[in-house]
């Protein structure tokens, strides 16, 4: 059993009671909700004549179904309009703050929590969305929950959970040119498998993690779930505090910042903390990574050969064969040169400002390949506004990218942004599952945002290091 880790400390501080099931009743410090997974939970609450216990600790946004082009109401898609209307009604009734598109604060739920400063170290954060793990970048204990659990949290302010083991993932060394946080996490998942993290929470540590900006840490924590881990976190440090100090919560209230900082520091993992498992990844060795298959664990360095299914562990072989057939790739080849039709720069993994800045540097002065449909979907309205101010939007537009409004968009194809037929997409998102981007024959290649930019320009998977203007993070 782990001891003295951030996970242990935050867990203990939030443990309310032991339940007859052996689970722990855990108090929830922040409950984020969105339009897809919450309406049924509100329905269940109504059926039982229950009220929202802590509306003041709940925050809503709309992201999955929101159109990213024309956002005038009613939305063109009736189903989307119905979901939005339902959410509006629910939050109004319960008195829950709602970052809707008219506020200028709307965006992907995992982008807006951090930028508003409500994501904080030492908080328990839940959301009916598996990528809630993103918030762990701040040293929060954050995990995705199902709709029945959303009902629990709405009704009681708590969630019933079993305690997990803690695996420390230490990333040593320094990332080289063109290599980003995304490549670290793709390597971790490649190595440990998509189910390697089941039963674990991941603590990311080591030089390479500490030197990342908060956005990079978010990209890593975001994909913890793709490795099977319900949550992932980084211990809070100066990088975290600097970010927080400038958010809405603290910019005008430095006293509150000073009041909470000792708590944030107190929940850091102890130097002599005990872990259930430790894995070391050499950051110096990494290169830009891309996926060749249909699970995020099927990644490979861009210059490395795609593995033959027979080289993989036995239980991965069938999936690998099926994936290679779907993607139309052959073992022994590299992914470099794989033709793409669509470039998607977006999602809660990689659509924050630093992501867009790095990608824009690649794009600047170049043109999107004539056969490629390229789009940028900022993670939030604030990211969008700032990017427009900095001139990034112009850089993308001039190169031929479609510059859209904030939302989940083609990450999962619940709005009009979808792949068609067997289009191949270079994507900065987190899932390359079959059908994920809206077409069941669509092909998704996951990669970091600089690599997406390079693919958009060249019309094929391209080692960004062979272009100039590559940013070292």
């Amino acid at each position: 059993m782990s001891e003295g880790t951030l996970y242990d400390k935050v867990w203990d501080r939030h443990a309310v009671a032991e339940l007859p099931t052996g689970q722990t009743q855990l108090f929830v410090g922040l409950h984020l909700i969105h339009e897809v997974t919450s309406p049924q939970a509100f329905g269940m609450l109504r059926e039982r004549d229950m009220e929202v216990a802590y509306p003041e600790l709940t925050h809503a946004t709309v992201d999955h179904i929101v159109p990213t082009a024309d956002q005038s109401r009613p939305y063109g898609d009736d189903a989307a309009e119905e979901m939005m209307a339902e959410l509006e009604e629910n939050v109004r009734e319960a008195g829950i703050e709602f970052s809707d598109p008219t506020t200028g604060n709307q965006g992907i739920v995992h982008v807006i929590g951090p930028e508003q400063g409500i994501t904080q170290p030492g908080k328990t954060i839940v959301c009916g969305d598996s990528h809630t793990s993103t918030h762990g970048a701040f040293g929060s204990l954050a995990f995705g929950i199902g709709t029945s659990q959303i009902r629990d949290v709405l009704a009681t302010g708590c969630v019933a959970m079993e305690k997990q083991k803690v695996r420390k993932i230490e990333v040593t060394g320094e990332l080289s040119e063109g290599v980003e946080a995304k490549d670290i996490i793709l390597e971790v998942i490649r190595r440990l498998g998509t189910d390697g993290g089941v039963g674990y929470v991941y603590e990311y540590a080591g030089e390479a993690i500490e030197s990342l900006d908060i956005e990079g840490r978010m990209s890593i924590c975001n994909m913890s779930i793709e490795g099977g881990a319900r949550a992932g976190y980084v211990n809070p440090d100066e990088t975290t505090y600097e970010w927080l100090a400038e958010t809405d919560e603290f910019a005008d209230d430095p006293e509150k910042f000073e009041r909470l900082k000792p708590y944030w520091e107190s929940i850091r993992s102890e130097d002599d903390a005990e872990y259930d498992d430790v894995v070391v990844v050499d950051g110096d060795e990494l290169e830009p990574t891309v996926t060749w298959g249909t699970t995020p664990g099927q990644g490979v360095g861009v210059t490395q050969p795609i593995p033959a299914p027979e080289e993989l562990p036995e239980e991965k072989q069938d999936t690998a064969r099926m994936s290679q057939k779907h993607m139309g790739v052959d073992p022994g080849d590299t992914m470099e040169g794989y033709d793409i039709d669509v470039a998607f720069l977006g999602s809660c993994t990689n659509a924050r400002l630093p992501d867009l800045r790095r990608a824009a540097k690649i794009v600047e002065g170049r043109e999107v390949h004539p056969d490629v449909r390229a789009m940028v979907v900022p993670g939030s309205q604030r990211v969008q506004e700032q990017a427009e101010k900095e001139g990034l939007a112009d850089v993308f537009r001039e190169a031929g990218f479609d510059w859209r409004n904030a939302g989940c968009s083609m990450c999962l194809g619940m709005n009009e942004d979808q792949l068609e037929g067997d289009e191949a997409c270079a994507s900065s998102s987190n899932r390359n599952f079959i059908g994920r981007q809206g077409s069941k024959d669509g092909r998704t290649v996951l990669m970091n945002p600089q690599m997406v930019a390079a693919a958009a320009i060249e019309g094929k998977v391209t080692d960004v290091r062979n272009l100039s203007e590559v940013t070292t993070v």
Partner: protein
């Protein structure tokens, strides 16, 4: 059994489930395959059952593809037998909801993604596990015996089919919750209201209205 998660009062106990089986083969079957996202644009779970495994079952022009969920002989099955890492991917409860509404009352597999298993539990649906050989043998048997009953005994941690009884694993918390009928956590946790308030007050960052 009744898996009415919305019922009030004490939840039903789920000690064992009997029914015919249906195999769905393959590792890493994710929630996007179980219920494609485009069917999630709904505000209730009603009617999701028919969309279970939709893209695996139907082609572009809605022509049927080979899938056990399309086979008449499995139409009334209630025990779904799967392989490893079933239900990985998103936290959408739409996935177990779709399966439940299709008629599935229990899942037997090599392993399940955690959130998926938790979502199943919230609906009173057990997710019991066994090693790959046991599972493959069971899948083969189901194929041969679509009308044969499978008994999933959550309490005893066994699965019985034909003349065979095999040991399976049921996560401790899941077993207790189902067997004792305490999988409805809302009621349980609501009864600890005072302890909740105390915890909230002890946290430096919480500013509640009460």
């Amino acid at each position: 059994m009744s898996a009415d998660a919305e019922s009030d009062g004490p939840a039903d106990t789920v000690r064992h489930i009997s029914g015919t089986g249906v195999p769905v083969r393959g590792n890493d079957i994710d929630t996007d395959q179980i219920i494609p996202a485009r069917f999630m644009k709904v505000v209730t779970f009603d009617g999701l059952g028919q969309f279970s495994f939709f893209d695996q079952r139907f082609g572009d022009d809605d022509e049927e593809k080979a899938h056990s969920f399309n086979e008449d002989r499995f139409r009334d099955s209630s025990v779904l037998v799967v392989n490893a890492n079933f239900g990985c991917g998103s936290s959408r409860e739409h996935a177990p909801q779709a399966l439940m509404r299709w008629g599935i009352d229990a899942l037997v597999g090599e392993s399940f993604a955690e959130i998926f298993a938790g979502n199943c539990l919230a609906l009173g649906i057990p997710t019991v596990t066994a090693d790959s050989e046991t599972i493959e043998a069971l899948q083969a048997w189901v194929d041969e015996n679509p009308d044969g009953d499978i008994d999933v005994d959550v309490e005893a941690e066994t699965v019985t089919y034909g003349e065979t009884t095999v040991e399976v694993e049921v996560d401790d918390a899941q077993r207790k919750a189902l067997v004792e009928g305490v999988w409805d956590t809302t009621a349980l946790m609501k009864s600890n209201k005072n302890a909740v308030r105390e915890t909230a007050e002890s946290l430096p960052y919480v500013e509640t209205d009460d």
